[in-house]
Amino acid sequence: MPDKVVDARGSYCPGPLMELIKTIKKADVGAVIEVLSSDQGSAKDIPEWVKKSGNELVYSEKDEAGGYWRIAVKKVK
């Protein structure tokens, strides 16, 4: 279970990523943040950012019925 869920559905790129970064900055190391995004670009961009920033991608999956992505990130530093 994520420690916090950021619902960025309806927000365009780079909105969901920005929301994630804001939340991660405030979170404790080890916390898992889940972002909900209906933006296709963010589904590709967020995992890229996670890799580059040295955090850990827990999962990235599409909710086909709802037409949005669930992307979870663990803050490692």
């Binding site: 365009y12 780079p14 909105g15 990523l17 920005m18 970064i21 950012w49 580059k52 920033s53």
Partner: protein, 132 residues
Amino acid sequence: MADAPKLALVLMSPELERLHAAAMMGSVAAMSGMEVNIFVTMGATKMFLKETVEKQDFVLTDVGKTLLEKKVDLYYKLFEDAKEMGSLKVYICSLVSDLMDWKREDFLDIVEDIVGVVAFFGMAEGAQIVTV
């Protein structure tokens, strides 16, 4: 922060979609820990006036029109958020503000200062410079 990777953006075009592209790159870079300096010159300068934003007096092409219709957060909002969360500074070209007789207080609050090219080069030293 002296060793942080640096990005410098030079904004010249008044087109909303170009400003938006710059705002996306600049804000993502700043929030990812890069030091970002933005130099606004020529046609882009007017787009940083309070009056322009109040009147939503934008230069629109296809994507720009759609940005407005779909109520996407626009460049000034993206820059504002990035300033809060990272190191991003917006500078206005002194030549254009002199020519057009625009004063410091005519510009949006996100604007750091009015500077010349030499000052901007000083800030942009060691940065990747991208012109939009």
